[in-house]
């Protein structure tokens, strides 16, 4: 073997090694605009419940991790195009998404709720504290909500379980307006363009606190049905090639790490820190 061949071989082997090291670094996609799940601070750093939890899980798995910011409406396409390896972006596990990607077990769940500005007619809406769409006998509550929402402009973030629920027809045909980010929903709820908004409860509570605006949540806490089965880590469906096998292994690793983190009380602790309520599951 001459020197030339040797050099090429060395370069190839070292490239392979570099690739392996690089491949071991798990890239986690997140939105960075959905507090308290994930957010971006003033200096542009990603912060929030899932950022801290993600690093904790990686510590347990002994993987090196890095977070990649990605707009919400392109989250699943970006995962499929391998811009990152997994999603941790407050993404609920739903059958519709499971057609395209797979999820780890859930790590947290948080009810969705309607919100209005103080003084809205919806404040007097008389419903029980919570509604689980997986159970039967919800007709009466849904009817109350349907008549309360009739003729109102209901605002949601695009491509969310909340938009899915409004499109499902469970509360009649409402006038839905979809925004790119939850921030924009909050802005237009304050300005009065939206009569009512639907999102995760914590995002309204967080916004009301941070902005000082009189946003209040009304009606029941929604769960089940279109609202999915908690928030999990989104991962590509495994395959037979190298990346597919790695994806399948990542799914196993994340499931195991979530178990460990739950047992150690890490998820509960972080949930209370960010949500002021144990939303872990």
């Amino acid at each position: 073997m001459n020197i030339f061949k040797k050099t090429i071989l060395t370069v190839l082997v070292s490239l392979l090694l570099i690739c392996n090291v690089y491949a071991d670094k798990v890239r986690i996609g997140t939105e960075g605009a959905y507090p308290p799940w994930n957010d971006t601070d003033a200096s542009g750093k990603l912060v929030g419940f899932e950022i801290e939890l993600g690093y904790e899980l990686c510590k347990i798995m002994e993987h090196q991790c890095t977070f990649v910011p990605q707009d919400w409406d392109g989250m699943i396409p970006a995962l499929l195009m391998r811009k990152f390896d997994v999603i941790m972006a407050g993404m609920s596990i739903t059958p519709e998404r499971q057609k395209t990607i797979t999820f780890s077990q859930g790590y947290a769940t948080e009810p969705a709720t309607l919100a209005v500005m103080k003084g809205s007619s919806l404040e007097s809406m008389d419903t029980p504290g919570s509604i689980n769409l997986n159970r039967k006998g919800n007709e009466k509550i849904l009817k109350t909500i349907t008549s309360a929402l009739a003729g109102k402009t209901v605002c949601v973030q695009t491509a969310t379980i909340h938009q899915k629920f409004l499109d499902s027809g469970d509360v009649g045909s409402v006038n839905v307006r979809a925004y790119k980010t939850q921030d924009e929903v909050n802005l237009d709820l304050t300005s009065g363009r939206c009569d009512v908004a639907l999102a995760a409860k914590a995002s309204f509570v967080e916004y009301a606190e941070a902005s000082g605006n009189a946003v209040i949540t009304v009606g029941p806490n929604f769960s089940g049905g279109a609202f999915g089965d908690g928030v999990g880590v989104g991962i590509r469906q495994g395959g037979d090639d190298a990346i597919g096998k790695r994806d399948a292994k990542l799914l196993k690793d994340f499931n195991k790490a979530i178990n460990t983190a739950r047992k150690k009380g890490i998820i509960s602790k972080l949930a209370i820190k960010y949500f002021k309520d144990d939303v872990s599951m």
Partner: protein, 225 residues
Amino acid sequence: MDFDLMFTSFPKLLGATVVTLKLLSASLFFGLIIGLLFAILRLNKNIFINKFAYGYSYLFRGTPLLVQIFIIYFGLGQIEYLRSTFLWVILKEPYWCAIIAFTLNTGAYTSEILRSAFQTIKPGIIEAGKSLGISSKIIFYKIQIPIAIRQSLPAYGNEIILMMKGTSLASTVTLMDLTGVAKYIISTTFKPIEVFIVAGGIYLFMTFIIHNVIKFLEKKYSFSQ
């Protein structure tokens, strides 16, 4: 490649094209009026009127259309006083906010296109009119404006095409135009390539139509005939 999805999304996208065309025609109509008005103001000898018109076109040509839409939609919506006035009836609707932003933007470009067209009119033509005893008002309406419009056709055709593509920004303020519906379909199917190819094809077809209409008009009103 999911051809099924391309076929099923086509009629939905075509329906949304109506919204795009409405936005485009409304903003071009109002934009042309504003553009003509400001082009005339630009030619005024009074320095204040002149600078005011220049400032308008400088401002709207110097900032991105997306920023203009955001300021008009989200920015003005944050001013509490405004929300108590009659203006809120219009500004409350994303549709009107988009039309206002597009109109002001295309108006600025149109005013520049028309101004340069006015300035290319040879003084001899105006002098010829004067020597025939035609009043300067009639010279302006019957000679200067028609020539300016003919001169500006190629540049204005470009502006129409740019504006047509610019309307895709309406989806950022919740309007379900061609881009908005395309994004909505993607949000449920997670297949951006197929849907954007169809949407892009529709945009391309609209450009094709506009381009040919302008070409036809250019030929019809060309001076050499």
